[in-house]
């Protein structure tokens, strides 16, 4: 969008935007120096520097086991959610059967329901089924909340895909599965990768469900972080946070750099 108003008349607008952007980005950047503090407190700037909080993270069973639980849980969620979500999105796109809209509605609904509600509801049901504090329970719950993202992403991908190509493959003798796997799926690989990445990140980051339905040996990283933050402020959190910030910012920054360098020079 262009505008007829010269840029100098909008300086106040740019200044306000810059302030909001500082407000958005600065807090996470403050965490990084905090993780190298030598003090036990949150004093800023840190009185001295040390790596003790990283040693604390990599040396404590509590943190390592929680990280391992989160990684396994997020990976399993990613695999299951992407697989069953893709199957459902494909079927909803191709099929013409009764109840299509209600089915889509049910699959998207977890996105709209407040997390606290799902969390206490699942807490109650899982307690009866013996699924509390189990990896299975965590994966099931996170599959539920990541499914809408897979369905939405894959449906968007399918919309821009020409189904006639799959028909051609089938008319040439491929069966439905082969045609899907060799012709359709490779062309949807961007949507597939986005779905998988989204479900992994959402599951890894999910806090409310974890706080309620995980614990003991299967406490997730977010659950341990939450209880640590609530009960005592331990700079180990800053070390964990710095590692998470690095992991979270690398992909988008890389994507920006790569997409920029690939562009032909104007």
């Amino acid at each position: 969008m262009e505008s007829h108003i010269p840029h100098r008349n909008r300086l106040w607008l740019y200044a306000l935007t810059a302030l909001v952007l500082i407000f958005l980005v600065l807090p996470t950047l403050v965490v990084i120096p905090m993780s190298f503090t030598s003090a036990n407190s949150l004093a800023f700037p840190p009185p001295g520097w040390s790596l003790r909080w990283y040693e604390n993270f990599f040396g404590q069973e509590k943190w390592l086991s929680a990280t391992w639980v989160s990684l396994r849980m997020a990976f399993a969620t990613m695999v299951i959610s992407t697989a069953i979500g893709t199957a459902a999105a494909y079927a909803l796109h191709v099929g013409r059967f009764a109840g299509q809209n209600p089915i889509r509605g049910v699959l998207i609904a977890p996105l709209m329901i407040p997390a606290i509600l799902l969390a206490i509801g699942l807490f109650f049901v899982f307690a009866r089924l013996g699924l509390l504090n189990t990896l299975t329970g965590l994966v099931l719950a996170n599959t539920l909340v990541t499914l809408p993202f897979v369905i939405i992403t894959m449906s968007a991908g399918l919309k821009s895909y020409d189904m006639a190509q799959e028909m051609v493959a089938r008319s040439l003798g491929a069966n439905r599965l082969t045609a899907f796997l060799t012709v359709t799926l490779p062309q949807l690989k961007l949507s597939l990768a986005a779905s998988a990445l989204l479900s992994f990140i959402i599951a890894f980051d999910e806090v409310v469900l974890s706080v309620f339905i995980s614990g003991g040996d299967t406490a997730t990283l977010t659950k341990v972080m939450f209880t640590t933050l609530r009960d005592d402020v331990d700079p180990t959190i800053a070390a964990v946070s710095t590692l998470l910030i690095l992991i979270a910012t690398l992909p988008p920054v890389l994507v920006q750099i790569l997409s920029h360098s690939k562009e032909p020079k104007a």
């Binding site: 505008s3 909001v20 958005l24 807090p27 807490f123 499914l147 920054v253």
Partner: protein, 298 residues
């Protein structure tokens, strides 16, 4: 099928087979949705249904609506609703005030600058919620960055209470919600035809008038959608108020959590949960209707 009308003798015998084939195909497609449907159905409908039925069980174990009537009559519950709505409204208003200019600037900046702004909006979006909450604790506490800075500048003599109260909660929530307002708003701003505002300027409207009479109405669908989403998410927000409120900010989600963890009283918690769900569905439905209406009028 039209092919049958064209060549009845040729395809007539096939049509029954084709119809059967189509039915078989649609059954197969339905089957493909089943795994996802079972997960969503069992894990969402069963807990929500259970909460719903629990909310109608009274203290004596019989069927009653006492859990609901208490919500309207008990002053403590009324106070929780007032606090929740106050915070949600304040956070939403701040998000609109701060987010609209950013989305607008993103839309008028040249592509590469706009992309940089987008990246800066997305970085917090990608950063873990708990990391950001921790960051605000570092910044806002008594000996935190903000207080130290203000004292060094001589603006205040005693540290301000910025966290473990409403102030910290609102700041943290605005930080979480801003991207949810900026991103949909930017999407709708970008699709606006700038010739319309230019035409308004040609016809003699000043920048302010062109903005309020031409531009703002065109952005309403995106603005309503983003605003409603933020507001609804605020109503059920748990993590940030729990950590930055320091137990002093009592919103609906906090109250539900307390009833579950402190006392074995499921009825009132379930009733609160059902009310929260109804409110959420109501506001989302209303915003959907408004957006649809606005789009038709434009």
């Amino acid at each position: 099928m039209s092919a049958r009308a064209l060549a009845p003798g040729l395809l007539g015998d096939n049509s029954a087979d084709l119809a059967q084939e189509r039915r078989r195909e649609n059954r197969m497609m339905l089957a493909l949705t089943l795994p996802a449907l079972i997960v969503a159905g069992v894990l969402m409908l069963v807990p929500v249904g259970w909460l719903f039925s629990l909310s109608f069980v009274g203290a004596d174990g019989g069927l009653s609506v006492e859990n609901y009537s208490r919500i309207w009559t008990d002053g403590a519950y009324v106070a929780i609703f007032v606090t929740t709505f106050k915070i949600a409204l304040l956070v939403t208003a701040l998000c609109v005030g701060l987010g609209y200019p950013v989305a607008y600037v993103m839309a008028i900046l040249p592509e590469r600058w706009s992309r940089l702004v987008m990246l800066l909006v997305l970085v917090p979006f990608w950063t873990s919620l708990l990391v950001r909450t921790y960051a605000w604790l570092v910044l806002l506490q008594r000996r935190g960055v903000v207080n130290t800075l203000l004292q060094d500048l001589g603006l205040i003599s005693k540290p301000l209470m910025l966290v473990n109260n409403m102030t910290g909660t609102v700041i943290g929530m605005v930080h979480v919600m801003l991207p949810f307002l900026i991103l949909p708003l930017f999407a709708s701003l970008r699709s606006i035809d700038c010739n319309l505002t230019r035409a308004a300027a040609n016809l003699g409207a000043g920048p302010t008038r062109a903005f309020f009479t031409v531009f703002l109405p065109l952005t309403m669908p995106g603005l309503v959608a983003g605003t409603m989403m933020v507001f609804v998410m605020c109503l059920g927000f748990y993590i940030t108020p729990a950590l930055l409120g320091g137990g002093k900010v009592n919103m609906i989600a906090q109250r539900i959590e307390q009833s579950v963890s402190l006392f074995p009283t499921w009825g009132p918690a379930a009733a609160l949960a059902v009310v929260l769900l109804v409110l959420t569905a109501g506001f989302l439905g209303a915003s959907w209707l408004i957006v649809r209406r606005l789009k038709v009028e434009v």
